[in-house]
C-alpha cells in the first residue's frame, strides 16, 4: 500500500542545562494510506513528541518527514499552517474547543478558513455532527456539554474537512470508561468508513488494539511495531 507519511532519521532534542537531551532518537517510520496506527508507551517515552513532529506542530532537530512523498522541512510557518489546514485533522487530549463558538461554529471554523461558503460549511458540519449523535446540540456552547460530547465535537471538527491524516493525542485521556469506548468506536468507524489515516496516541493497550497497527516507543526509540490481525 502507498505510504502517506514517511519519517526518516528523526531526531528531536531539547536543551537540558548545558546539554541537549534526545527525546526522539533516529526514528524511522512509514505509515500507509488509510491505516489506523496506535502509538503507545510510558509517559515521557516520546510518543507525543513524535506526533507533534509528524503533524508539523513542531520542528525536528534533524531528519525528515515526508507527506505524500513531499519533504515538509522546507515549509515556512504560513505554508505549514496551510498544509495542516488542508491535510490534517487534530483531536487534542482535552478536546480544545473554542469556548466562544458553539458546537456548530467550532466544527465549521476550519471549513470557513478553507474558503468554503458559510452555507456549505454549515451543511457539512451538521451532517458530521448528526453522524456522531450531536445533531440536537449544535447551538450549545462547550461549557454546556459533557466531556464525551466535547470530544465528539473535536472528532467532528477533525474530520469535517476530510483530511488525509487525523492525529489524535490521547483522545480518551480525560473520559470515563463508557465514554472512552464510544469515542474509540467513533474513531474506528471513521477509519473503516471514511478510509482516513489515523495516528493515535494512547497509554491504554486495550484501546490501541482497536487500531490496525501498534508501535511502542520507549526512550525515544520504536521498540515494537506490530500489525493487528482482524
Amino acid at each position: 500500500m502507498e505510504n502517506i507519511l514517511q519519517v526518516r532519521n528523526l531526531v528531536k532534542s531539547f536543551k537540558d542545562g548545558d546539554n541537549f537531551k534526545k527525546i526522539l532518537n533516529e526514528i524511522n517510520l512509514d505509515v500507509p494510506k488509510g491505516q489506523f496506527l496506535s502509538i503507545i508507551g510510558e509517559s515521557g517515552a516520546g510518543k507525543s513528541t513524535l506526533v507533534y513532529q509528524m503533524s508539523l506542530l513542531d520542528v525536528p532537530t534533524s531528519g525528515s518527514i515526508s507527506i505524500f512523498g513531499k519533504d515538509t522541512s522546507g515549509l515556512n510557518i504560513k505554508e505549514q499552517a496551510k498544509f495542516r489546514l488542508n491535510n490534517f485533522g487534530y483531536i487534542f487530549q482535552d478536546s480544545a474547543l473554542i469556548k466562544e463558538l458553539n458546537v456548530l461554529e467550532n466544527v465549521k471554523l476550519s471549513l470557513l478558513a478553507k474558503g468554503i461558503s458559510n452555507k456549505k460549511a454549515e451543511e457539512m458540519s451538521k451532517e458530521i455532527l448528526t453522524k456522531v449523535g450531536l445533531g440536537s446540540m449544535i447551538n450549545r456552547y462547550p461549557s454546556e456539554i459533557s466531556g464525551g460530547e466535547k470530544q465528539r465535537v473535536a472528532i467532528s471538527r477533525a474530520i469535517v474537512g476530510k483530511p488525509s491524516i487525523v492525529f489524535a493525542d490521547e483522545p480518551t485521556a480525560n473520559l470515563d470508561h463508557v465514554t472512552s469506548e464510544k469515542i474509540m468506536g467513533e474513531l474506528k468507524k471513521i477509519s473503516d468508513e471514511l478510509k482516513m489515516t489515523i495516528i493515535m496516541i494512547t497509554h491504554e493497550l486495550k484501546y490501541a488494539q482497536g487500531a490496525d497497527r501498534i508501535i511502542e516507543i520507549s526512550d525515544g526509540n520504536i521498540i515494537s511495531d506490530s500489525i493487528i490481525k482482524k
Partner: protein, 421 residues
C-alpha cells in the same frame, strides 16, 4: 484572502458577543469617554475663542468691518461709502457707530438704591452713538439687554448702560475696574460729553446691556442722532466703524473687493471678521488649538494603551486557544486580523456611543447653556472635518492596539503556544 478576512471577522464577532458583558460595557464606556474627552475638551477650549469671534461677528463687525485708515480718526466721505453699501446687492445691511469720550456721574442722593456709606462716583467711559434700528435688525444687539429695554423712536435723553459699568454691592470686580455702582433702568445719570466746553446733561438709563463686547459693556449706547445733536456735526465728523452684514452664501472677499473698488482705499480699511479680530485673538486661538491637540494626543495614547492592555490580557489568557487555532490550520494572519477587528468593534461602538452623547446631549446642552466667560459665550466648537480626523485617529490607534498583542503570540512556536510554555 477573502476567506482569511471572513474567518477573522467571524471569530471577532464571536469574541465580541461572548465577551463578559460587564467588561465589554466598561471598555465601551472608556472609549466613549475618551472620544468625548477628545472632542469636548478641545471643542470647549477652542469654543471659548470661537464663541468670542462669533460674538464679535454677530454683534459688531458683521462679515465685513470698515474702519478708518491709521492716518484718519474717523471715516471720511462716509456718505459716499453709505451710498456704495446701499447699492451693493450682496449686502443685507450695515450699521455705522460714532464714538466719543464721556464722564459719567451718578448722583446717589437721588438714587432709590442708595446704600449706607455709598458716595457719589464719576467714571470715564466711551459713548457709542448707534443707529438702534439697524443694530437691532442686522446685529441683534437688542437681544443682549439683560435689564430694562432697547431703544424706541420716542426715546429722548435715554441711554443704555454697559453692564460692566454697574455692579451690585457684593459683586467682585476685575482689578482697577471702576463702576458707577448699582445703577438700574429708570435711574438718572449725568453725562458730560467731549471736553469741558460741554455742560453735563441728565439721561435716563433705560436698559443694561451684556454683550460680551468690551466696546459696549464698558461704555454707554445712545442713539447716534442724539449724540450728533449734542456734539454737533463739527465735532462728530464721521463714524468710527461700520459693521456690514452680507447676504447668505456670499463670500466676504467678494463684497470686500467690490467695496474697495468703489471707495478710496486711503481713507478706509475694509476687512473680514477674521482680519479685523487681529493677531491677539488669532494667537489665543492658535494656542488653544495647540493645547487641545496636546490634550487630545494624551487621550488617544490613553485609549490605545487601554485597548492594548485589554487585548493583551485577552490574548494572554487565550494563548492556548490561539495555539489550537494555529494547530488546526487557522493562519496567523487570520488570528491577528480577528483581534484587530475585535479592537475595531469596541472602538466603533465606543465612538458611536460617544457621538450619540455628543449630538443628542452635549451639543444641545451647550447651545442652550453657553459657558459664561467674561469675554465670550463659550460654545462647544465641533467641526465635521475635525470630528472625522479624531475618529480616524482613534480607529488607527485601536487597530494598532489590536494588532500588536496577537502578533507577539502568533509568532511564537505553535506547539509552545498550545502547551502554554
Amino acid at each position: 484572502m477573502f476567506n482569511i478576512v471572513y474567518t477573522a471577522w467571524f471569530l471577532a464577532t464571536k469574541y465580541f458577543s461572548r465577551f463578559s458583558k460587564w467588561t465589554s460595557s466598561l471598555i465601551i464606556l472608556v472609549i466613549a469617554l475618551t472620544f468625548l474627552n477628545l472632542v469636548v475638551v478641545s471643542g470647549l477650549l477652542v469654543g471659548l475663542i470661537e464663541g468670542s469671534v462669533l460674538g464679535i461677528k454677530e454683534l459688531r463687525t458683521g462679515e465685513v468691518f470698515i474702519t478708518p485708515t491709521k492716518q484718519n480718526q474717523y471715516i471720511k466721505k462716509y456718505n459716499e461709502l453709505f451710498s456704495v453699501l446701499d447699492n451693493n446687492k450682496n449686502i443685507k445691511g450695515y450699521a455705522p457707530r460714532y464714538v466719543s469720550n464721556a464722564r459719567l456721574y451718578k448722583d446717589y442722593k437721588t438714587s432709590i438704591y442708595r446704600r449706607a456709606g455709598e458716595v457719589d462716583v464719576d467714571i470715564y467711559a466711551a459713548v457709542t452713538g448707534i443707529d438702534f434700528k439697524k443694530e437691532k435688525d442686522f446685529f441683534g444687539l437688542d437681544k443682549k439687554i439683560i435689564d430694562g429695554r432697547w431703544f424706541i423712536d420716542s426715546d429722548v435723553n435715554s441711554v443704555i448702560l454697559g453692564n460692566r459699568l454697574t455692579a451690585k454691592a457684593d459683586e467682585e470686580l476685575f482689578t482697577d475696574e471702576r463702576v458707577l455702582g448699582d445703577v438700574r433702568p429708570g435711574e438718572i445719570i449725568e453725562i458730560k460729553f467731549g471736553d469741558k466746553t460741554y455742560a453735563p446733561q441728565k439721561f435716563q438709563v433705560i436698559g443694561i446691556i451684556n454683550s460680551k463686547q468690551q466696546e459696549y459693556d464698558y461704555g454707554i449706547l445712545i442713539p447716534s442722532r442724539e449724540l450728533r445733536g449734542i456734539l454737533g456735526q463739527g465735532v462728530l465728523l464721521g463714524p468710527d466703524n461700520v459693521g456690514v452684514r452680507i447676504a447668505n452664501n456670499v463670500e466676504p472677499a467678494v463684497v470686500i473687493d467690490s467695496i474697495k473698488a468703489s471707495t478710496d482705499s486711503t481713507l478706509i480699511n475694509v476687512r473680514s471678521t477674521e482680519e479685523s479680530i487681529g493677531k491677539y485673538l488669532g494667537n489665543i486661538r492658535k494656542t488653544f488649538v495647540l493645547l487641545s491637540n496636546a490634550l487630545g494626543t494624551i487621550s488617544i495614547v490613553v485609549v490605545t494603551v487601554m485597548l492594548f492592555i485589554v487585548i493583551f490580557i485577552s490574548v494572554i489568557t487565550k494563548q492556548r486557544q490561539i495555539g489550537i487555532l494555529k494547530g488546526i490550520g487557522i493562519s496567523p494572519l487570520t488570528i491577528k486580523l480577528s483581534y484587530m477587528f475585535l479592537s475595531f468593534m469596541y472602538t466603533f461602538v465606543g465612538i458611536a456611543v460617544g457621538v450619540l452623547i455628543l449630538v443628542f446631549l452635549l451639543i444641545p446642552y451647550f447651545d442652550a447653556n453657553p459657558i459664561n466667560f467674561p469675554f465670550s459665550d463659550g460654545i462647544l466648537y465641533v467641526t465635521l472635518p475635525g470630528l472625522i480626523t479624531k475618529i480616524f485617529l482613534l480607529f488607527v490607534m485601536s487597530i494598532f492596539a489590536g494588532f500588536l498583542p496577537p502578533y507577539l503570540i502568533t509568532k511564537r512556536n505553535t506547539l509552545n503556544t498550545i502547551l502554554g510554555r
